[in-house]
Structures are given as C-alpha cells and as structure tokens.
C-alpha cells in the first residue's frame, strides 16, 4: 500500500510539472526554466515507475529497460544537440513520430491481455490507430521537410479515397471489438492499415502546410498517450497526454488561422498547393520588374531613417542570418532605425524565424510581430524583403481567386521603397505569382541572400 501511495504521489508531482512547464513555456523569461521543470518531472515519473513497480521483475527485464533508456538517451541527446536550427521542424516531427510508434507498440503488446474487456479493447485499438497514423504521418512530414520527398504525391480522388480508408479502419476496429476477437492477424492488419492511412494522409499535402500537419500529429500523439493512461489507470500518462492533446489542438487552430485555413479544410479538404489556380493567377500578373544593384540599395539604405527587414525561409536556407544581423548593426551604428518584421508563419513553423534570428543574437526587442509592425510600414523608408514571398503577397488582400486570399500578410507595399532579394523569379512555397514584384515601388535585387547582404555590408562600410 505504501508503495502505491508514493508512486501516485510522484505522478501527481510530475503532472503538476507538466502544467507548470507548459505555462512557463508561454513567456520568454520563464520558458527555459519551464522546459527544465517539465523534464525534471518526466525523469521523476520514469524512475518512479521503474523502481516502485509492484510485482516480481527479473533482472533481465531491468537490464532490457535500462539499456533501452540508455541507448535512447544517448542517441536522442546527440541528434538534438547536433542538428542545425534550420532543421528544427523536421526534428520535432521525427521525435513526434517516435512517441506515436511507442504508443502503437504498447497497444500491439497489450491487446491479447484484454480480450473480452470491451472498453479496454476500444482504448487499445484507438491507441493503435492514432499512434500509427501519428508515426507514419510524422515520418512523411519529416521526409517532406527534409527534401527527400518534395513533390506532393496524389492518387486519383485521394480525398475520397483517404476518407474511405479511414472509415474502413474505424469500422474494422468496431467489428473487432464487437466480435471480441483475439486474432493477432486482425490486429496487425489494423496496425498496418493505420500506418498506410498515415502515409496517404500526409502525402498529398504540400510542404507549406507541414507545420499544421505536425502540430495536428503532435496532438494525436498526446491523445494516444492519454489512451494508454486510460488503459492502465495511469494518471501521469492521462494528464500529460490530454494536456498535449488539447494544447496541440489549440496551437493547430492558431496556425490554421495564420494561414487562412479552416480546420475542416485541413482534415478533410484537399489542402496544400493548389495547382489549379497557379495558371490562372500567373496570367493575371502583368507588367515588368525593375532590377537594382547592391550599390544602389546600399546608398538607399544609407540615407534612410527607418528600415524594416522582412526575413523569410530563403534567408535561413542561404545561412544569411549572421550577415543580416551584421547589416543591422552597421545601420544602427549610423543612427538608422532597423526592425525585423516577423510573419507568424515565416520559416517552416510558427516562430521558426524568431528562433533562427535569436540564434544569431538579434535583440529580442527588434523582432516585431505582424500586428504591431503593419501600421508602421507607411512611415518606413525602405523595406528589405529577404527570401520571403507568400507572406508579403498583396494577392492575399485583393485577389479573391488566389489560394492565399484572406491570409494575413505583412503590408510592405505601404512603405516608400521596397527592395526584394530573391534568387530568381521562381514563385514561393504556395506556388503563386507575387504582384508585389511588379509594383512601381519595388526593386528586385537578385542573388543568393548571403552574398547579396555581404556586398551590401561592404558597400555601406565604404561610405
């Protein structure tokens, strides 16, 4: 009795650390401590589970658990420490998939112990389905962000097909529950079916929507963990899982809003890049573009009073974060006011751009969020758009046929001068033309972001 009490007590503490940790993660000053607190609670819960376990355990089993945890810790730690910050989204996706797989495996092992207990079987089967979808879906998201799989692959009528497969999966699980089968064959059919669904679910989705997908799969894994908690009556799994499930869902909503998609559209609609409208909007953009050179831009910047940088993922790809920070410091030293305008979905994840810029020691106060910075564009002399495209596309305001219509954007067109740095005229992630480039006030500065910014620095230094 004593043992059970202390383990329950440990779980209670761990649950509190999760709530506190997540709460603290929401504020810049406390975020890091919050993460560590949650990690501490998790460590406590893990060791409590191992050492306060009721019942006889073979030494061999302890060795097995110990080595699994040891290997996992070393590998996980090494990967997390080594990976470049630009690769962060795919890493989160990868770790999320691991959790999903773990949840599915638990279900696979426990199934035969619970045959006949209807509610437990429902919990287990739901855990297997959700965990597997989360695993295979995350792996596809990982491969897509990685560039291994860069084209959306679509089977004919993929939408209907996916929904049918999902319904068949649910119906099959319901049938298994109803008959009370103990068949391992059926179990594995369900498992592989769910894995296949996860692949088909994410495969047709374009890379631009991957953050939403990862966030969604993140809350799926939370749900799968919570189902495990329900099965064992384990409070810490239940609280942790549900907490992530609901928080993840809210985060998904927030992202959908930033990208102008409804959640229904995300789950059942064909989302991703809309190849139909590409042709339509290409022809609607007319006019010519104006090219400029680094020295002209340097002069322009040198005689400006207020400059706003608009960084996009292109900046990160070119590894130009350090260069732009240097440019910023140079301009600030000349008495020019410089800010970064950060679109919520700039980069490959919400807030990704902030992380990348923070890595290069850009002042936290210089990073302005969209709502705060939008009114400021009208009294800004120069806007410097680096590697961003869709988030500054005015079509979101004035072209109802555009796939990004209604998406909140940075209103850079209100500034007096707009300089756009891009490698070429290739459309951005959403695959649509940007009329901003044809704007009278816009000059295009072609070239690799890093090279271009470095030559700007040299030019300005020489003035």
């Amino acid at each position: 009795m004593e043992y059970i009490f202390s383990l329950e007590f440990i779980y209670l503490i761990a649950s509190i650390t999760y709530i506190l940790g997540l709460k603290m993660l929401g504020h810049p000053e406390t975020a890091r401590r919050g993460n560590l607190i949650a990690a501490g609670g998790m460590t406590l819960a893990i060791f409590g589970t191992i050492f306060l376990y009721q019942g006889e355990v073979l030494t061999q089993t302890y060795l097995l658990i110990g080595s699994a945890i040891l290997i996992g810790t070393i590998v996980g730690w090494a990967i997390a420490k080594k990976v470049a910050m630009t690769k962060m989204p795919e890493l989160v996706s990868l770790f999320n998939g691991m959790g999903g797989a773990s949840a599915a495996l638990i279900g696979l092992i426990e199934f035969h112990h619970y045959v006949g207990d209807t509610m437990s079987i429902i919990t287990i089967l739901a855990g297997i389905i959700i965990g597997s979808i989360s695993f295979s879906g995350s792996m596809i998201a990982w491969a897509k962000l990685n560039g291994t799989l860069n084209k959306p692959l679509r089977l004919p009528k993929y939408n209907m097909l996916n929904n049918i497969i999902f319904l068949v999966l649910v119906a099959f699980a319901a049938y298994m529950t109803y008959v009370g089968t103990g068949s391992q064959l059926y179990l594995y059919i369900l498992f592989f079916g769910a894995l296949a669904y996860g692949v088909l679910f994410v495969l047709p989705i374009g890379g631009a929507d991957m953050p939403v997908v990862i966030s969604l799969l993140n809350s799926f894994t939370g749900l799968a963990a919570a189902l495990g908690g329900f099965l064992y009556g384990n409070m810490v799994m239940l609280t942790g899982g549900i907490l992530v499930g609901s928080a993840g869902t809210i985060l998904t909503f927030a992202m959908c809003e930033a990208m102008n998609r409804s959640l229904f559209n995300v789950i059942f609609g064909g989302f991703g890049d809309t190849d139909v409208s590409v042709e339509g909007s290409t022809s609607s953009v007319k006019g010519s573009i104006k090219k400029t050179t680094a020295s002209d831009v340097a002069i322009l910047m040198n005689y400006s009073q207020r400059i706003i940088f608009v960084p996009g993922y292109g900046l990160a790809v070119a590894q130009a974060q350090h260069a732009i920070h240097e440019l910023e410091q140079l301009l600030v030293a000349k008495g020019i006011e410089v800010k970064y305008a950060i679109h919520p979905v700039a980069g490959r994840m919400p807030g990704h751009m902030n992380v990348l810029l923070a890595e290069t020691n850009v002042d936290y106060d210089k990073l302005a969020e969209m709502e705060d910075v939008n009114p400021e564009f009208s009294n800004t002399d120069v806007v410097f758009v680096v590697g961003a495209n869709d988030v500054v596309n005015p079509a979101a305001h004035n072209d109802p046929s555009s796939p990004i219509y209604g998406m909140p954007i940075l209103d850079v067109e209100n500034a007096k001068q707009i300089i756009v740095n891009k490698r070429s005229m290739k459309p951005g992630y959403a695959g649509i033309e940007n009329e901003l480039f044809f704007n009278q006030k816009t000059s295009m500065l072609f070239g690799d972001a890093k090279t271009v910014i470095q030559s700007l620095i040299t030019e300005i230094k020489g003035m």
């Binding site: 949650a38 998790m42 910050m85 773990s102 799968a224 899982g241 549900i242």
Partner: protein, 102 residues
Amino acid sequence: MTEFIDFISNNLQMIYIVILMIFVGVEIIGHVPAVLHTPLMSGANAIHGVVIIGAIIVLLGADADNILAQALGFVAVLLGTLNVVGGFVVTDRMLEMFKKKK
C-alpha cells in the same frame, strides 16, 4: 449499454481529469505569443513522450518467455526515450537562444 454506463461510473475520476485537463491545455496556450509557438510545440512534443511510462509498464509486466513482447517492449521504451530526451534537449537548445542579453 450497461457495460458503457458501468465504465463511466467506474472511471468517473479519470473522466473528470480528462475534462479538466482539456480546459487547462486550452487556457495555457491561449496567451502565448507567436514567437514562442515553435518552442512550445517542441516542449509539448517532449511531454507526450510520457507514453514511455506505458512502455515501461508493458515491459515490466511482459512474460519472460514471450520474446516478441519483450522485443516490441524494448523498442517501445527506446522510441519513448528518444521522444522524451530529444524533445526536451531540442526545446532547451531553442530557448537558450532567447536568453536576454545584458
């Protein structure tokens, strides 16, 4: 049907927790600046690694002669650890960068 009602009344405590936790999760996220969305997602990702507790319970309870269960349990614990350790470490790395400069 009776089974369902039995289930509800037997697990009332857990159902309460589920409902309250849903609201806690919603409340916590409601006030987060977009800047912190990525670390937050990553932190939440680490927390659902709590599934490792289930994996450990499975392995602790697995029959010594059931090789398949042992092997799958081993993999489940391993993957769970990856989720937990990788998740927390990567979140810490991201947040380290937000450190205020003096």
